[in-house]
């Protein structure tokens, strides 16, 4: 059981939840996730829900940001501080960061932004500069921008409706930016909706920039047993929960099949 210390709305449809867990807090690395049971004494909802870890606000504590997507997350939004949830983790394989990296490009789309906060903190600790690109449909959904303000980190915002920052998708803004810089010794880290990640994969392929993406899926177990979250890769079927959720974008089979360069 894990005590909830904070659970509040931060944007329309988005909530920040902080809970206590020494095990998760001390072992988690950026890109990993937790499986959370919401209704403690009921079989409905039955399954745990996966949430990526947004940050470790203090030793012993873990923060996530979630979007109301259905009945489970609506019930979660009603948990009051002091209440209990049941969290398993940290799970999965997170982002890998090369010590020789000169610059990291972080691309977050909407609800996919949270794990990049954790990653940006780790990059800052390692002294690797980062350029952060955040996109959303409209400015109110441009969440967590304030969490990327460390020295050496520049932030580029974009909205589909043009209400803030670049008018267009985060990937279109990033593609324009790339034309003006030398991406040598850099790496891309992206998390967001699948069409965005596919587009990132194609951009990075064109510029030969190593790219890691964090994928999402429905999951039942979170530990590689149920095979509900399989993704086909160059190395065969992989589980998003236990082989990922972070993958090398150039290995995702369906993006290769749909690649503009064949």
């Amino acid at each position: 059981m894990n005590r909830v210390v904070e659970n509040r709305k931060i944007a329309p449809g988005y909530y920040y939840l902080e809970f206590l867990s020494d095990g998760i807090s001390s072992r988690a690395v950026p890109g990993q996730f937790v499986m959370m049971r919401i209704s403690m004494h009921s079989t409905d909802p039955l399954l745990r829900r996966p949430f990526s870890i947004m940050h470790i606000p203090a030793p012993g504590a873990v923060g996530i940001v979630y979007k109301i997507a259905g009945r489970g997350t609506r019930i979660l939004s009603e948990v009051i501080p002091g209440g209990e949830i049941d969290c398993m983790g940290p799970l999965g394989v997170g982002f890998s960061i090369s010590k020789t990296l000169k610059r990291a490009y972080l691309l977050g789309g909407g609800a996919g932004t949270p794990p990049l906060v954790f990653l940006a903190a780790e990059l800052h600790r390692m002294g690797i500069p980062a350029s952060v690109f955040l996109g959303a449909r409209r400015s109110e959904e441009l969440i967590l921008a304030d969490h990327f303000r460390s020295p050496g980190q520049e932030i580029h915002e974009s909205t589909d409706d043009g209400s803030r920052g670049y008018h267009g998708t985060v990937t279109a803004g990033f593609a324009e930016y790339l034309r003006q810089v030398n991406p040598e010794n850099s790496a891309i880290y992206a998390c967001g909706p699948e069409p965005m990640l596919k587009s990132v994969a194609h951009i990075s392929q064109a510029h030969s920039i190593p790219t890691q993406v964090s994928l999402e899926s429905q999951m039942a177990c979170g530990i590689g047993a149920c095979l509900g979250c399989t993704i086909q890769t160059l190395a065969g079927p992989k589980q998003i929960c236990s082989d990922g959720p972070v993958f090398d974008a150039s290995t995702i089979q369906k993006w290769i099949d749909e690649s503009p360069s064949g």
Partner: protein, 318 residues
């Protein structure tokens, strides 16, 4: 509850004899819900399990159906994994040697799209070291050829069962589908084919629909329903099977607690499998085993077999 057992004050005896197969206790984990066992080794002391039924195996590796493969429903879940597995060669080469180091029965769940494929897999596993029994899956609802197509036709069930029976010395378990009008008739067919043990139920065929897109939620249109939602159906199926045949039964369907196990034993099961519950709590099987032991101590039941077929009713189980 009164018990005639004189041994109630000792640790209860959990050993079960399923025809030719002896298990250290009646708590097993169901095929398809426990990977190849190894996925759970950090969460579960695998040595405490009565048996591990590994993920359904096919002759060649299968990558399964596209996303979306699972959908949550009221107190249950649908899946259309599509028998994704590493194939029989990889299983024997990589998984089986690792599983052999655990003190539990490893039971291979076998699948084919033709009778010959079932026979070939059966031969390969019979020649391998470390398989305690074969579970013949004639009830997978998520494959086009084979699977449930075999398991809803008594003639095909008998043919495949007897074909495997003739080729192996291993105990043969036939896994039955609940998606039939008369499960007792399927059980009789499996026994006529020489099944030593029956396991039931596989999942119930179901569907989920997305009102935003007006499309089915699952990529394969339908999927198999599991979880607490199906327990009443599973209990009825085990009861009807126990009325129809006398071979040992491994019962399953939505088991989440020690008392759920007792219910399955009362209606005719000799052992049980834990399935979907392992997704919610990876160590559910061990907790359920401990709850069963506590139930037996509290009710002064010395041996697990005292519960099996114990249902009190004017139509008692034979």
């Amino acid at each position: 509850m009164e018990s005639t057992s004189p041994s109630w004050n000792k640790a209860p005896d959990l050993r079960v004899q399923l025809g030719p197969l002896e298990l250290k206790n009646p708590i097993t984990v169901a095929s398809g819900t426990f990977g190849y066992g190894l996925e759970y080794k950090n969460y579960v002391d695998l040595n405490r399990l009565g048996a591990i039924f590994v993920k359904g195996l096919t002759l060649k590796p299968r990558s399964g159906h596209p996303q979306q493969r699972i959908a949550e429903t009221a107190s249950g879940m649908l899946n259309c994994i599509g028998l994704q597995n590493v194939g029989i060669d990889e299983f024997i080469k990589d998984k089986l040697p690792k599983l052999r180091s655990y003190d539990t029965a490893v039971i291979a769940n076998i699948n084919g799209s033709t009778a010959e494929e079932y026979y070939e897999i059966s031969d390969r596993l019979t020649q391998s070291d470390g398989v305690a029994a074969l579970e013949v899956n004639v009830s997978c609802p998520n494959v086009k050829a084979g699977g449930m197509m075999f398991g809803t036709d008594p003639f095909l069930i008998e043919t495949i069962t007897s074909g495997i029976r003739k080729r192996t010395h291993l105990p043969v378990i036939v896994k039955l589908s609940p998606n039939v009008t008369d499960i007792g008739a399927m059980a009789i067919a499996a026994c006529n084919g020489g099944a030593d043990i029956l396991s039931l139920i596989n999942t119930l065929v179901g569907m989920a629909v997305d009102v935003r897109t007006w499309r089915p939620v699952l990529s394969n249109l339908t999927g198999g329903l599991s979880g607490p939602a199906i327990k009443p159906v599973a209990l009825r199926c085990v009861y009807e099977t126990a009325r129809a045949v006398s071979v040992p039964i491994i019962g399953m369907g939505g088991i989440c607690s020690g008392t759920d196990v007792v219910e399955f034993l009362l209606v005719g099961a000799h052992a049980v499998s834990i399935g979907t519950a392992s997704y919610i709590h990876p160590d559910a099987s061990i907790r359920i085993l401990d709850e069963l032991i506590r139930y037996m101590i509290e009710n002064r039941i010395g041996h697990i077999s005292e519960i099996t077929r114990g249902l009190k009713h004017e139509n008692p189980l034979p």
